[in-house]
């Protein structure tokens, strides 16, 4: 709780308002201050600077240039930006227009119309460098990969162009200005300048301990830090209800005095430690003790450089270890002396502290100080590696391999992994087993991260089962091509076959198309409710609309959009809708509640450039919950100003909004409705004909018969197609090995009979004699009592009477019960549970007339 509050980020204006607009009640500013409370650091971003903006996906922050800053009447802080696009944001089919390889550091000057350039200030992560280059120029190699981007070309949604000289010079200008300002002001040091310093410091530190590791680790950190930064921020935001900074960021924003300490000599550090003792007392003892411990293990007198950087590193992180409490307060000097005097005693002491330390590591939330822990972990790693190398050089290699791989794969988790990896051997050495089982310790360390992993896993790791692509095995033999005209017809008549066009739904198609198109062009959101009985082409029409719109977007006639579809029937629970939508939008897999939060944030916050989303919700009624919060949210998002969400909701009942929705949900759904009428026989006829596509497989009359029959019953196109398909089978079967025939009336009639005939009559006729008598007895009992319900006992008496008339042996009650349960099983009768035995009540499941008709010879 405490740490969360501490890690709040405050966005405040830098300087006085430049100008204000009375009418609009807005005031413009020249810069924004991002203050992280916990690390007590501030960053100033000014107009013209380049920034990273939170994206919908935590891995990919957007790049933009800050053009304007203003505060509106509602005290909301806004920023106007010029976007830059990563190569990944450009549609794959357009990427080939570039005709060259693009490095991930390259961005494109974005001139795509339709992106909202007005963003909320809270989405700004930090500032970066964007350096304009000429088209032919190679990217300069820099250490600072995550901080700088290069722009060579502009992208307007259709094609790439070289940067105009005007834009080029402006960008160059902005860069210089940005750099100049931050250099001149002492209090605000831009990130990109401080980080080399830090790196230098780190390398100094490392060189003292173990030069081998340095390059490797720095290298890996760079590659990882960019994505992890945004991700950490993202996840924290979500967890803390917005604005918490990252530990990493705080460190990078170290004050100059702190970073300069990196270059101080060991003794100076100790002095400093002494000086600063008051401020950071709680941590120091542990830092010192740790240092002492290593010397103790090695059994050699304490090595000064090693000890120093150890303590220094701890000092660096000291601030973040505020929760750490150590009962023993010792001054650094005395401790060092102690260590040289009586290492044995200290060893024991360390045991205690070490255990505290481990607890601390475990209990600390990853949010609090991943960075600091990492440094310490790296330090210890270096030391341990040294020790281990004495014992086992091979082991060392593996260790390095592991470190590098885990580092590069996923920084935030790897930090923890590092920690775990390095803690385990530490324990091992402590317990004087001295890595006797390095393999097993490795194993456990590999497994533990799974438990500690609290953030969304990296999408890129192929090993994770989430990304496994399930697939039905391929068939061994090729599927046969249709050989005859009937087979061909059957293939075309299958419901799954996608027809060339959708006949009879032109009007509906146009309405939906126009609706979505207008919203797309306006860049707004909206809902549409589509109803109709099953098999009237609702989903097919909507898919067709989407297909056409996508086509149009590809041809650049429309702004491009994202298409997401969910189906209420394919969800196990209404709340899973959130999960599916989020996964389809961003590829993240999270729990339902978390997904709801993320989606709400995505659709409610103004700003980050996003394409319009078209969401199709099929079988809407299944999303009903008692509180209706899923429906409410779904329909609430499009009404938000910045959501850019178009919802097409599909369900069966026309009056669903009135029947099951609360007023507030129905009101948000709006009045844009469309209902699909059941097909008339003419339409059905047209559908079949268009599917057959002038193939001579059916008689005209046969088609008409099917259409009329289905139209009279349900108007379900699926039924119509199924009957036709069955008719082709019957036809094929009838004309076996003779000249191929076309489907005639007789075949269709047979198919219809097969599908719509009532099975009961036939079932009764084929029942055994006593079963038939039992049914007769029921009829007789009903007539006698005048009630359409009887107990088995009553029917039994009737049955015996009937048997006497027929001169048959009367059955025992057990046999009657068996008959009754058999008839009940095939639902000719409705029976109660059988434990009532004689008093079990019996009803007919069909009309008495049907039974009489069936029993009449």
């Amino acid at each position: 709780m405490n740490t969360r509050q501490q890690s709040k980020v405050i966005y405040s204006w830098y300087g006085e308002p430049l100008s204000s607009d009375r009418k609009l009640r807005t005031s413009r500013y020249k810069g924004i201050l991002i203050t992280s409370e916990r690390s007590r650091t501030e960053t100033c971003i000014q107009l013209g600077n380049f920034i990273l903006v939170e994206g919908e996906n935590a891995d990919q922050p957007f790049v933009a240039q800050l053009l304007d800053l203003y505060e509106d009447g509602g005290q909301q802080k806004h920023a106007v930006v010029q976007w830059f696009s990563h190569i990944t944001e450009i549609p794959p089919n357009k990427r080939k227009l570039l005709k060259r390889e693009v490095s991930p550091q390259e961005v494109f000057f974005d001139q795509v119309p339709g992106y909202d350039t007005d963003i909320a200030v809270e989405t700004i992560i930090k500032s970066v460098m964007v350096i304009p280059l000429h088209l032919g120029e190679e990217l300069p190699i820099t250490l600072n990969k995550e901080q700088s981007f290069y722009v060579k070309q502009s992208w307007d949604g259709k094609c790439f162009k070289a940067l105009s000289p005007d834009a080029f010079s402006k960008l160059k200008e902005a860069n210089k200005k940005g750099g100049g300002i931050s250099n001149s002001s002492n209090s605000f040091i831009p990130l990109d300048i401080i980080s080399p310093l830090k790196k230098e410091r780190e390398s100094v530190v490392r060189s003292a301990t173990k030069p081998k590791n340095v390059e490797l680790e720095i290298e890996s950190k760079h590659s990882a830090s960019k994505s992890s930064l945004a991700k950490e921020r993202h996840s924290q935001r979500v967890a803390n209800g917005m604005r918490t900074p990252t530990a990493r960021k705080k460190l990078q924003l170290n004050s100059p005095t702190r970073s300069s300490k990196g270059r101080l000599l060991g003794c100076e550090v100790l002095e400093l430690l002494d000086d600063d003792c008051d401020a950071i007392v709680p941590l120091e003892p542990s830092a010192n003790k740790r240092k002492v411990k290593f010397t103790g293990i090695l059994g050699s007198p304490p090595k000064m450089p090693c000890a120093n950087d150890k303590s220094k590193s701890m000092f660096d992180t000291a601030e973040h270890w505020q929760t750490f409490s150590d009962p023993i307060r010792l001054s650094p000097y005395s401790k060092v002396k102690d260590s040289s005097k009586k290492p044995k005693n200290l060893n024991r002491e360390y045991d205690i502290i070490c255990s505290i330390g481990h607890q601390e590591l475990g209990s600390q939330s990853p949010v609090s100080t991943p960075r600091s822990r990492r440094i310490c972990a790296q330090k210890t790693s270096a030391l341990i590696a040294e020790q281990v190398s004495i014992l086992n050089t091979l082991e060392l290699n593996q260790e390095e391999d592991f470190l590098s791989s885990s580092d590069s794969s996923y920084s935030s988790s790897s930090e923890e992994e590092d920690n775990d990896v390095l803690c385990t051997p530490e324990k091992k050495t402590k317990s004087s087993r001295m890595l006797s089982t390095p393999k097993s310790s490795r194993k456990s360390s590999v497994h533990t991260p799974a438990k500690t992993l609290k953030k969304t896993p990296l999408p890129g790791t192929p090993k994770t089962p989430r990304n496994a692509t399930p697939e039905i095995p391929r068939r061994n033999h090729e599927a046969q091509k249709p050989a005859s005209i009937l087979e061909e017809a059957r293939l075309r008549l299958h419901v799954s076959a996608i027809p060339e066009c959708l006949p009879c739904r032109e009007e509906e198609f146009q309405d939906i198309y126009n609706f979505v198109e207008s919203k797309l062009i306006d860049g707004t959101g909206g809902c549409m409710y589509i109803s109709g009985v099953p098999g009237t082409g609702k989903t097919a029409t909507v898919h067709e609309v989407i297909r056409c719109l996508q086509q149009a977007a590809e041809n650049d006639d429309l702004p491009s959009f994202q298409f997401v579809e969910i189906n209420g029937m394919k969800l196990t629970d209404p709340h899973q809708a959130y999960v599916q939508i989020l996964e389809l939008l961003t590829g993240q897999k999270v729990t339902a509640t978390h997904a709801a939060v993320l989606l709400a944030k995505l659709f409610n916050t103004p700003g980050p450039k996003r394409k319009t989303t078209v969401l199709v919700v099929d079988e809407l009624d299944l999303l009903w919950t008692r509180k209706q919060n899923v429906m409410y949210n779904l329909f609430d998002w499009p009404t938000q100003k910045h959501s850019k969400l178009i919802i097409l909701a599909i369900a069966n009942t026309m009056d669903l909004p009135e029947r099951i929705m609360m007023n507030r949900v129905a009101s948000r759904l709006g009045l844009t409705r469309m209902s699909f009428q059941p097909y008339t026989y003419k339409q059905l006829q047209q559908i079949i004909s268009s599917r057959l596509n002038s193939m001579k497989a059916f008689e005209e009359d046969a088609i008409q018969l099917v259409s009329r029959k289905v139209a009279a019953l349900s108007g379900d196109a699926r039924r119509c197609l199924d009957i036709c398909r069955r008719a082709t089978e019957i036809c094929e079967f009838a004309s076996h090995k003779r000249t191929p025939e076309i489907v005639r009336m007789a075949h269709v009639t047979e198919a219809i009979d097969e599908m719509f005939s009532s099975p009961y009559i036939n079932a009764i006729r084929n029942a055994s004699l006593h079963e038939q008598i039992f049914l007769k007895a029921i009829l007789a009992e009903f007539r006698r009592a005048g009630v359409e319900e009887a107990t088995v006992q009553q029917v039994y008496h009737q049955h015996i009477a009937l048997c006497r008339i027929e001169g048959m042996q009367s059955p025992t009650l057990s046999e009657i019960m068996a008959i009754c349960s058999r008839l009940g099983a095939c639902r000719l009768l409705l029976v109660e549970s059988s434990n009532k035995y004689l008093h079990m009540r019996v009803r007919l499941n069909i009309s008495q007339d049907d039974v009489m008709y069936a029993l009449k010879e």
Binding site: H494, K570, N766, H839
Partner: protein, 394 residues
Amino acid sequence: VEMHLLELLKRTTVHGESNSALIIGPRGSGKTALLNHVLRELTEMKQVRENLLEVHLNGLLQTNDKVALKEITRQLHLENVVGDKVFGSFAENLAFLLEALRKGDRTSSCPVLFILDEFDLFVHHKNQTLLYNLFDISQSAQTPVTVIGLTCRQDILELLEKRVKSRFSHRQIYLTNSFDFKQYIRIFKEQLSLPAGFPDESFAQKWNKNVQHLSEDKTVQDMLQNLFHHTKDLRSLNLLLMLAVSNVNVHHPLITASDLHEASKQSRMDSKANIVHGLSVLEICLIIAMKHLNDVYEGEPFNFQMVYNEFQKFIQRKAHCMYNFEKPVVMKAFEHLLQLELVRPIERPSVRAQREYLLMKLLLDNNQIMDALQAYPNCPTDVKQWAASSLSWL
């Protein structure tokens, strides 16, 4: 019928055409036998055997969609694709499976045959999610699937939700036992005859001759006719023959008409009446008292006190040979009847209600009681008389 199903499955495997069908018929009408027969025939074709994945589900085993999904995943051997992760949440599982099936297309994916035994039980799963998805796949351009459902319920289509029903192709294969008695006799002979490959040929001949002889025997025919009238389910015939054949041994090598008759009697026995045979005289008396109460009050429920009073009347007026039992003893006997479920309380016994006044119903019919009394050994004559008429003491 068989051809229809065979062709259907063949098209699924050869052409990759998706389908759905229901096989409907009463119990013992050979639904599973038909399907197994067709499948056996199919797997004899090489092209089919190598191109078909089968998934067998049973409504009695897969009691909800979650279990069913797990089973499908297991039978499709998809769980190894994803390690242990697949058995995560229900939602993940469904998404995973749908994804897997969506990936395929008509021409390249291996067709999957889903066989849902006791199909009617799947209908009761929440939202009919599984059925909707299976039928939806069978009606869209995804992995070719054929869904075959087996059920004995004639009203199965009315149970399907309208969206699910629309997606079902409405192919229904009805099976009935439509044979007549002559065919039934033939089946009887086939069932009992020894096959041609029997090692002891002379015995097989003798046995088969005997079977032929039996099938022409009048009493056997009567007995079979009786069974045939009761049920056409061939399982009951098998059961009867099994009872008869189990009498065969070295000294009694051939099955006789009396064996069959004995077996028939055994299988026709009335279970409740059989229980009455084992009761004590006191308990019989109580049952007779209840019978009279039923006659007087026309089947209205009674309680122990009423039964006891009725019994007391009989003892006082008539009984010379009957010992007048204490009330607790009679109560004990009454409770024994309760345990045997010859009597059944019409409401749950509550703590407050006194046992004597709990309302009961007799689960025996008058006919059963009279039949049982006829067969009851050493029944006192006056009890018999009393049973015949409640007014016999007058």
